[in-house]
Symmetry: C2
């Protein structure tokens, strides 16, 4: 069964919004054995919507459409749907009652005529209830093809997908599809490929490997497909573990376990260690990544963003002479930041960053992109120097990932 995801919206075609809906739906469909063959985007015009629906119906037999169902004038999807399916809009009493209920209980602003038009739906559609918004999902079947329309607001799309759609689609595939993505740091795509060449030559049918390089790390994704779910899981286990063994020095766990931040927190929890951070150039991103994980509060004690130079003295008591002597972006200051933070917060391990993310040179003479990352534990305190290039966003992102990697290695040693 060929599946197509179609997203409607000029905001996608002008690059204002990134198509996260398509990624979310694709991943959800994989969990019920459905693979997406096409993702497409069209604009907010009657002709564009009709043309995109026609193209999709020629090549796919399950089509999931998102977007274009809001109450304002730029939303033309419902009219195009009626045109395409030779249907007409009629008021759905149940949906009307739901909209009025939502306004009374949650939205708490007066209901407007435009909101009421959200209850006008094509008569042939099976309505998929939207418990968190006013735009209903719709299900059509014609010529053995299924077309589903979902709201474009991510939270509403997710609600309808999870509560109304996945169960209905669950029977369509008996395939099991699972992914296992190994996270590696510190080696390029080609060098990795050489090291795991023997394993890759052994990969059986139904198991494939892809390389995903970005931000100085390479992710290796194994995808297994089979009608036997146990076989799928065994393939990922066996071959994933073989690759991990070949790459033991650069492998940092699996993305499906949540990536570096949650694994770091888990490892610290097992070892009964606590963590604190003191950031300058990364500006809170390390703290933000760690605290994004549920349960972080039992391991992550606290973080400091000592952004201006004087604050390193103000908040942590780092001596102005040290900063004067070595410069604020230096091994010595990174070490002192990490150690002072560990002592002040009582955490077992502290990590620090000081550097210049650009675009201009700041309170030091170092090149844009230079970052020192410090680590302090009861046993020792040290810092390493890096250069992460001259694009501010990349410097911050790479420095934050590198800091998490150094923290992870240190926790693993304990």
């Amino acid at each position: 069964m060929k599946v197509e995801l179609l997203s409607i919206g000029d905001e996608l075609l002008i690059g204002q919004v990134v198509n996260t809906n398509a990624s979310y739906i694709a991943a959800q469909l994989n969990t019920i054995g459905l693979e997406v063959a096409y993702i497409s985007v069209c604009g907010d015009s009657h002709e564009a919507i009709i043309e995109a629906l026609q193209t999709a119906h020629k090549r796919a037999s399950l089509i999931l459409v998102t977007g274009g169902l809001g109450p304002t004038k730029d939303d033309l999807t419902k009219e195009a749907i009626c045109d395409f399916f030779d249907d007409r809009l009629e008021e759905n009493k149940e949906v009307l009652a739901h909209i009025m209920h939502l306004f009374e209980t949650h939205i708490q602003t007066p209901i407007r005529p435009a909101n009421l038009t959200q209850a006008l739906l094509p008569s042939k559609a099976v309505v998929l209830k939207n418990g968190v918004g006013t735009a209903s999902g719709m299900w059509f079947e014609r010529d053995k093809k299924i077309t589903v329309f979902l709201p474009g607001v991510p939270r509403e799309m997710q609600y309808v997908l999870e509560h109304e759609l996945l169960d209905r689609l669950g029977g369509l595939s008996s395939l099991s599809i699972r992914h296992r993505t190994l996270l590696t740091y510190g080696l390029g795509e080609s060098a990795i490929a050489e090291r795991i060449d023997a394993v890759v030559s052994d990969l059986p049918d139904g198991l494939s490997l892809a390389y995903l390089p970005n931000f100085g790390r390479v992710r290796l994704r194994l995808t297994a497909k089979d009608h036997d779910q146990k076989k799928v899981e065994a393939l990922l286990q066996v071959f994933g573990d073989r690759i991990a063994a070949e790459l033991a020095d650069i492998y940092f766990g699996d993305e499906e376990q949540g990536g570096l931040a949650p694994q770091l927190l888990n490892l610290a929890l097992q070892k009964q260690l606590t963590v604190a951070s003191c950031e300058s150039c990364t500006g809170g991103r390390i703290a933000s990544y760690l605290t994004a994980i549920p349960g972080a509060s039992s391991i992550f004690v606290s973080g400091l963003v000592a952004y201006q130079t004087a604050q390193k003295t103000q908040l942590l008591g780092i001596s102005p002479e040290l900063i004067e002597t070595y410069s604020v972006v230096s091994t010595e200051v990174a070490e002192e930041m990490a150690q002072a933070t560990r002592l002040k917060t009582g955490a077992s391990i502290a990590v620090s960053t000081t550097g210049n993310a650009g675009p201009e040179k700041g309170d030091s003479d170092v090149d844009v992109g230079t970052v020192f990352i410090g680590i302090s534990t009861e046993e020792h305190t040290f810092a390493h120097e890096f250069n992460f290039g001259n694009l501010r966003e990349r410097v911050v992102e790479k420095a934050s990932l590198k800091a998490l990697e150094m923290l992870y290695r240190e926790i693993a040693k304990k």
Copy 2:
């Protein structure tokens, strides 16, 4: 001229990677007067690539393709290109020299056979140099249609686009396309539509308006198109200002000026004010948003992430009795956090957050989603209570945006 963006990659079809390349390219093309009509994604197989190229060539006359040009075995694009354009691979001496130079100067690991195959390119292609990687861009012309292949790694794609492609495409369109996106907070799509109905009825040809709701805010995008660039700019100015005037109480500037964080920093700079943050449930995200902006260090003094309850005492000296009496998630503690941070850091204004982002109840009895946001200035200190629902990521995001909004309002008052 119809433009299609085609992205190749299984990682997109399984939802592992979000298609940021398409958004980036679409926005860049708009700046040179080109509008994207179609965005599509296909998988990493010979058949899928050929089929997608055929579909694109039927409906578009400029096709920009990204992805599938890496050195490892999962990349089949070059073979498909040869098939599609009836071409063959041959070694490009200049590209080979560039790859060897890159390895000597930047990559600093031994060059591998797989890297050298990156110099094998279709003989009919005009090569677009990739200064930051080994995968070259390629330009084909056939039957009055242009097809361009770009690397999939975002940084490399951006390099080739900016240095090799935009100038070549610049002559294709005489149209000016500009967007102006007004940021509003606090009112729903339908209510906004009613308030600006009179302006919307007045919109002339060549000017359109779209509503983009998400995370409790609505963005209003005006798009102007014309062959006369001055007219385009005047339309956005006049109608954007009229809408902004109607929505003065909920309008927070334009997204093209960078969004809330940079505008907040600009306003603070004008008024010579400095800012500090003390975050609990938002875990560093407010600091992270502010410090992402170039030049933040002259306004943003420092931030604290007092994550564990005891750290609110440890770092800021908040009395354990206050926390005991009112609970750690309370107006009183939010106010005290903001005030203590302002005094400790010497900033003119401090913002604080304390709440429970879930999924479980923490060190207080409040419902998941409850967040108190505090503000402290020399004149006064106060806090407001919010509930941002029960999804951790949404609670953190909405609380961070709301905190920036409150900070902005406070700075504007000064």
